[in-house]
């Protein structure tokens, strides 16, 4: 089978042997792929110009797997960027890893999402360029949820369609959006959310840092509900954001 070439971002690496690794890579035109990268840790490797690292972007050549449970084979990797600005603060680095974890958990293999690839690349570029972490991450999380068919309704009540005018306001992952005080009693699974966030989003206005954080809380909750657990990087990210700024 001829090798496929594509643009790609490395999401996850695990050692397979002394010199080989298993890589989870998000490609632009072929979606998520899991590949064996033979001899990738060897300094004399000519297929890969010196190692593979997490969250680096590049051009890939690979032979896809023949069956669902099998690994494809990485045949070439040319690094184009490491988004080196991520490595200047733990909050940026963990935000990048959090996006990588969500992308690998919420996408199916060989299910392409070119727009989502662009969104991930934009997030990493924003983090690299020292843009505020939470608005950039929230924007990526919304794009991810949209790409997999879970886009939340955050501007109006998901049941009655009205913009909530009074407290309390809730969010339900199962219902897929905001619940106003008149509709919330029909839903058992729900979490309280900031009404100002709904108002801002309904008016299409930009979010303050405080509301960006509130939006991320809602999206994190929805993602945890979809996965049935909290992503593993979430706790480290929260600690880093508190310590080094959002």
């Amino acid at each position: 089978m001829p090798a496929i070439t594509d643009r790609a971002i490395v999401l996850r690496l695990s050692d397979y042997s002394e010199t080989s690794q298993i890589a989870t890579i998000f490609t632009r035109a072929h979606g998520l792929v899991r590949l064996i990268a033979k001899g990738v840790k060897r300094s004399t490797s000519k297929r890969v110009n010196v190692g593979l690292d997490l969250l680096e972007g590049g051009e890939i050549a690979f032979v896809p797997s023949k069956a669902a449970a099998m690994l494809g084979v990485l045949t070439e990797w040319r690094q184009l960027t490491t988004f080196s600005g991520l490595r200047t603060a733990l909050s940026r680095l963990y935000a990048g890893l959090y996006a990588a974890e969500l992308t690998s958990l919420l996408n199916e293999e060989y299910d392409p999402h070119a727009e989502l690839f662009e969104e991930l690349e934009e997030l990493l570029r924003d983090l690299d360029a020292q843009q505020p972490v939470e608005p950039a991450l929230a924007s990526f999380q919304l794009a991810l949820l949209g790409a997999i068919g879970y886009a939340p309704m955050l501007e109006h009540c998901i049941i009655c369609g009205h913009t909530p005018r009074s407290e309390p306001v809730y969010f339900s992952a199962r219902a897929g959006g905001v619940l106003c005080r008149d509709c919330e009693m029909h839903q058992i699974e729900k979490v309280r959310m900031d009404r100002r966030l709904v108002g801002r989003l309904a008016e299409g206005r930009s979010l303050t840092p405080e509301l960006s954080h509130a939006l991320r809380d809602v999206l994190d909750y929805q993602i945890s509900q979809i996965l049935g657990r909290r992503p593993v990087v979430a706790a480290s990210l929260e600690i880093a954001l508190r310590a080094t700024g959002r």
Partner: protein, 201 residues
């Protein structure tokens, strides 16, 4: 495959050898038959050496390098500069750095690196012991020799932030092109680091 039954101890040895890194079924069989053929003393010497490393080798109480006593041979060497501490991820890195003969200081072995995706957090490493060591005084420089990977850099960033309050200078190993490598095969990050870190020739 035909149903070839080996004697119990031999089969068990092959199975144990197969669990070693880089040893496949054919290699495991070759090693097992070699041990069967070899003299009793030689085989028992190997068994006793394996037993010794499990019973006698332990982490150094100060730096977590491999040691046979409370302190490793580096920490207990009075000729070493105790005020310079080189921080590495694992004992294998220490052995490699030590082989250069350039390091007069001592080490601190983290026993891994921070890996949020694998659930490895700072508390799983020996970072608290490093901070205690620095706070105890007598250290003038911390040299971070973690791997130049994203996770190595995460570990270095975390250590830098927790040591900030101590005021002890923290340095990092230089990066860039490896001697014997070729610019043709160097990646962009290596070339960037090499150019930024260029020195007067």
């Amino acid at each position: 495959m035909s149903d070839v039954r080996l004697t119990g101890p031999l089969q068990r040895l092959i199975e144990e050898l197969r669990r070693l890194p880089g040893v496949g079924p054919r290699s495991a069989e070759r090693i097992a038959f070699h041990l069967l053929k070899t003299g009793r003393d030689e085989a028992l010497m190997l068994a006793s050496t394996i037993s010794d490393i499990k019973e006698k080798v332990r982490p150094c109480a100060r730096c977590f390098n491999l040691a046979e006593a409370e302190l490793c041979h580096i920490c207990s060497d009075p000729r070493r500069n105790q005020s310079q501490v080189v921080v590495v991820e694992q004992p294998k890195d220490l052995i490699n750095l030590e082989a250069t003969g350039l390091i007069a200081g001592v080490y601190h072995v983290l026993m891994g690196h921070i890996s949020p995706l694998e659930g490895i957090e700072p508390a799983h490493l020996t970072i608290d012991a490093l901070v205690d060591r620095v706070r105890a005084g007598g250290i003038d420089e911390i040299v971070l020799a973690t791997n130049p990977t994203l996770e190595g850099d995460a570990t270095a960033l975390h250590i830098t932030s927790v040591l900030h309050e101590t005021g002890v200078p923290v340095t990092r190993l230089a990066r860039g092109l490896a001697p014997g490598s070729s610019i043709e095969y160097a990646n962009r990050a290596m070339l960037e680091e090499a150019f930024r870190g260029r020195r007067k020739y």
